[in-house]
Symmetry: C2
Subunit: 248 residues, 2 copies
């Protein structure tokens, strides 16, 4: 049977999602736990990678197993074997035609910042420190430019190889209480570092370093150097992955 | 000169505020940094202790120094010597008559909980996991009983020695978004474990295990066993210490 996991993790101590030779990863921890649980060498397929230090509240991944363990018991069983900074939120059986990555229709990310001129130990782990307070209204305006189908090449790290850099952003918004600022964005897919570069670009706009016209130029030119900087990993969190026709 | 520090710390990796023979403490880290900075063996006096694992967004402490470093430079200088989970938010000169503990007029604590039947790695560090959702309206009602001057003996851990168990609570409130619940309480002082026991008592009320009448009985009897359990340390955060006549 094929099982879909929804996973929350604190990425601070991991070299990202995907297994790699040096350093522990979330995928590896889950595969190790699955091996201990079932005795099978199981390979899990995530909805996508998350980079070193990036967090997830709702990463998803599927795997196939011959195990007789009821699908909904996998979450409890795996949680007893996993480190505390990785938790399986749910485990459900899905059809063999379901694929965590290819069936995904919508992903939502959140980029968190806090305004302070000193590092705040209680916020440092999950948000980027910025100072001073940017112009929130300007940032909200730029969000409007990002919504829709666009070539987002200027918002992707150079060197990443993809067939197409066209993606659709369904929603993009900024929330702020004057101290904590979040950029929440949903789309049908995201290029490498796209959310972190979007957040950096919004911040440049909020500080008056990039105008609306500058950002439109960046979008049409596809020139990475015309967009803002790539914000640090720790502020990023993969919130949700949604599947058409499924409600997991 | 006498200097007042305002300090934020993530208490996860510390055995509380006060210096003790076994395990590192926040006070010790600050005194070590002060020694490295000034060459003086300086003893700092906190507004009060925080227990092992308890956090602070606004702990305060004073110390005396012969140093010629301008008072406001201490924060920057100390931050370059302190571990990242302790930050000096500000440093200001205060009169010799000022005392971080005895001059304190008001303290505010926050106790954070989150509703989930699985541990959430992104919330675990700063909040206690509870399940299911308690009755928030009932909890708000109980908050009303706590406000004012009362003998709070039933909300203090047995074995603690204090002259009087009478304290004044200025405000007590519950905030909730259905997932994150916080109990925020201000008073002229707090007994040992008082906020954690109050939070446990509010939760018992929210789950229908203690009625308003039960809590009034607990208050008048002074009987610790009639109040709720002591909630875990990690949900507690000392938010603010205020001084009459001073605005630091």
């Amino acid at each position: 049977m094929r099982i879909l996991l929804t996973i929350e993790y604190d990425g601070t101590d991991y070299c990202g999602w995907q297994i790699q030779p040096n350093g522990k990863t979330v995928e590896e921890e889950i595969e190790t736990a699955l091996f201990r649980l079932t005795g099978e060498k199981i390979s899990v397929t995530g909805s996508g990678r998350t980079d070193s230090g990036v967090h997830a509240a709702g990463q998803t991944a599927h795997f196939d197993t011959q195990s007789k363990i009821p699908s909904e018991r996998f979450s409890y069983a795996l949680n007893s074997l996993l480190p505390k900074d990785i938790r399986i939120v749910s485990s459900v059986e899905v059809p063999q035609t379901f694929h965590a990555r290819f069936s995904a229709k919508k992903k939502t990310y959140r980029y968190s910042m806090y305004v302070s001129n000193t590092e705040k130990p209680l916020k440092e782990r999950y948000a980027a420190e910025i100072y001073p307070l940017p112009d929130i209204e300007k940032m909200k305006k730029i969000c409007g430019l990002l919504i829709g189908e666009h070539d987002f090449k200027c918002f992707s790290s150079s060197g990443s190889e993809v067939k197409s850099t066209i993606r659709t952003v369904y929603s993009a918004e900024i929330t702020s209480n004057g101290e904590d600022i979040a950029f929440i964005v949903s789309g049908n897919g995201f290029l490498y570092n796209m959310v972190r570069i979007m957040a950096g670009t919004l911040l440049s706009a909020g500080y008056g370093k990039l105008s609306e016209a500058d950002i439109l130029t960046a979008l049409t030119s596809g020139d990475r150097t015309k967009a803002g900087k790539t914000m640090e990993a720790k502020g990023l969190c993969l919130m949700k992955v949604e599947y058409k026709g499924y409600n997991y």
